[in-house]
């Protein structure tokens, strides 16, 4: 059984007098123990809301409705009360965020921000906690950890801050780590270092990682399984290799095609997907991507497309998918081991 099984997760923001916004509209995916799973899509496709819903961190406001299930190790996280959630957060499931500077408390030293997790979940205090915090900083590659513990977030560089946040997240050796665009706010060189660090931590500790990103480079570099999100639903799920080699959903094809290439000829134009995420067809009326899709046919509108299960754990939500070369799609041994 999967470590995390998200089933038909739906998040709706309703405001009086306005149409309800379906930020997440029936997302299903799973994360196995020790697996690295990617959640990919443009901004506004519901990736972050999905992760916050799993964590129970969506801003409490009237009109917020969360439906579906998020079963972690046998318990549905969405049904838990506040206290049990707090027990799980930081201990079994940890999370790191996009902007490391704003994600750290500016008026508290790094040390306390690390030790407070240790105190809360591992009952460590004083010297013991300080020692463990220094070890954690050391583990995420922060030099001179003893000194850094006394410093404040503004005294650290961007990369250091993200490392510190990672240290806080892995402090209790969680079984699942959710990383919401952890490298977006960082320089490219630092990005690579942080990804390398995450990979290493995941490999060494057996922690499962749910990587939320819009960056296909990140996906290609780390994920075992990839879920492509569009308009609040998963439109394609596949293992990494097959996905890159042979995307089936036209949106995935568009995403891969829109990545700028260094080896492209001079003057060659970029290849964006036309339109924007806002040109969205509500799922009940057909495929949300249809208004932007190059392979649209009449069947795309009217009925929501069903999820098609293909071989090799792949599934896609499209009535007119990208064809596979060779007429008969025969099951092959590909990345399944």
């Amino acid at each position: 059984m999967a470590l995390l099984e998200v089933e038909d997760l739906a998040v709706t923001f309703a405001r009086r007098g306005q149409r309800a916004v379906h930020a997440v509209d029936g997302v299903s995916f799973s994360v196995d123990a020790g697996e690295v799973v990617g959640l990919v899509g443009e901004s506004g496709c519901g990736k972050s809301v999905t992760s916050l819903a799993i964590m129970g961190l969506l801003p409490k406001q009237p009109g917020l409705r969360v439906g579906g299930k998020a079963v972690f190790d046998g318990t549905d996280l969405l049904q838990l009360d506040d206290r049990s959630r707090r027990d799980i957060r930081g201990r079994d499931i940890a999370m790191i965020f996009q902007d490391p500077l704003s994600s750290l408390n500016p008026v508290i030293p790094i040390g306390l921000q690390v030790t407070e997790v240790l105190t809360r979940h591992r009952g460590m205090k004083g010297e013991t906690a300080a020692k463990e915090a220094a070890a954690l900083l050391d583990r995420v590659g922060i030099p001179d950890p003893k000194r850094r513990l006394k410093e404040y977030p503004h005294q650290l560089s961007g990369g250091m801050r993200q490392r510190a946040l990672i240290a806080m997240a892995v402090a209790c050796q969680p079984r699942l780590l959710i990383a919401d665009e952890p490298t977006t706010a960082l320089d490219v060189t630092i990005q690579a270092q942080i990804l390398e660090l995450l990979k290493e931590l995941v490999r060494d500790s057996g922690t499962a990682l749910l990587m939320i990103t819009h960056d296909l480079g990140v996906v290609a570099g780390m994920c075992d399984t990839v879920n492509v999100l569009y308009g609040g639903r998963v439109v394609e799920t596949a293992r990494r290799r097959p996905l890159f080699r042979q995307p089936r959903h036209p949106y995935t094809v568009g995403l891969l095609g829109s990545v700028p290439r260094l080896d492209a000829g001079r003057g060659e134009k970029l290849n964006p997907i036309p339109g924007s995420v806002r040109d969205l067809l509500p799922w009940p009326d057909g495929c949300a991507f249809a208004p932007r899709c190059s392979r649209r046919i009449d069947e795309c509108v009217g009925e929501p497309p069903e999820l098609v299960q293909a071989y090799d754990g792949r599934s896609y939500r499209c009535v007119n998918p990208e064809p596979v070369p060779g007429t008969v799609p025969a099951p092959r041994e590909e990345e399944s081991a």
Binding site: L57, D82, R86, R91, F97, P106, V107, H154, A169
Partner: protein, 334 residues
Amino acid sequence: MFRFIVRRLLQLIPTLFGLSLLLFIWLRRLPGGPETAILGERGTPEMRAAIRRNMGLDEPILVQYGRFVRRMIKLDLGTSTSTKRAVTTEFIERFPGTVELTITAMIIAIGVGIPLGYLAARRRGRFLDHASVGGSLIGICIPVFFLGYVLKAIFSENLHWFPSSGRQDPTLGATRVTNFFVLDGLMTREWDAAADALWHLVLPAIALASIPLAIIVRITRASVLEVLNEDFVRTAEAKGLTEQTVRRRHVLRNAMLPVATSIGLLAGGLLSGAVLTETVFAFSGIGAFVAEAIGQRDYPVLMGFILIIAVVYVLVNLLVDLSYSFIDPRVRVR
């Protein structure tokens, strides 16, 4: 830190110098003049000239100003034209009362304002929130003297819970040490005197606190609401910290930054607010004295008062800046 304090104190000198110049020019340009205040409308021109000569008002303006500054440096603020006593002496006697009153008002404003603002933010959109936001609007709108009379009418004339005027019951014959009546009572172990002085402070302090209280409630509320949406609060929640830890360590501390700034500004303003409150409650502090001095055209007293307010403003804001550097490491001073 030490150098910062010294630097800030040195900045007082040009501030005061500029202020003395402004005051001097402004007061001399006012119609009437002290001789009118002393003699009334009936004085003969000869009598007026004699008084002007006596007070040095006939000398060139620069000489007058030079003398004014020299005396100011020696803390000699001149003689009050109405009480005929040294302004400095008058102030030493009365200033402690005003300080007691302002500090009590500030304690009320902070002690009630911050928790109330915080709770309003936590219960956003619910009854307590609407009540405190609405109440604070009323607090800002009601003039201090009006509120003073209302409080007096209800709590002292009708309910007889609090005395209606003065700083202390004179029949107690309390010993004076510092002229801070509450402090004196504690120092001399005259507990009933201390309690009585405190009792006399309650109503005027509430009246004086009304505006700063209302402002602190609103600033705290807005600030807490803003901090609640900060990413680091989400991080703290993601760590699974208890609600209490998140609120105390992560929300409240950050929310205090703008509140600290506003407290500094309000504390200075309270001194001027004391003029009205003290008059209403016949509270013999500096405010009531100055209110009288205005009517009497008692220039030396007015000048002294304005100078004191300026000094207090600068000192209070120095304190605020120092406290700021304790709350926020990013502005830590060297």
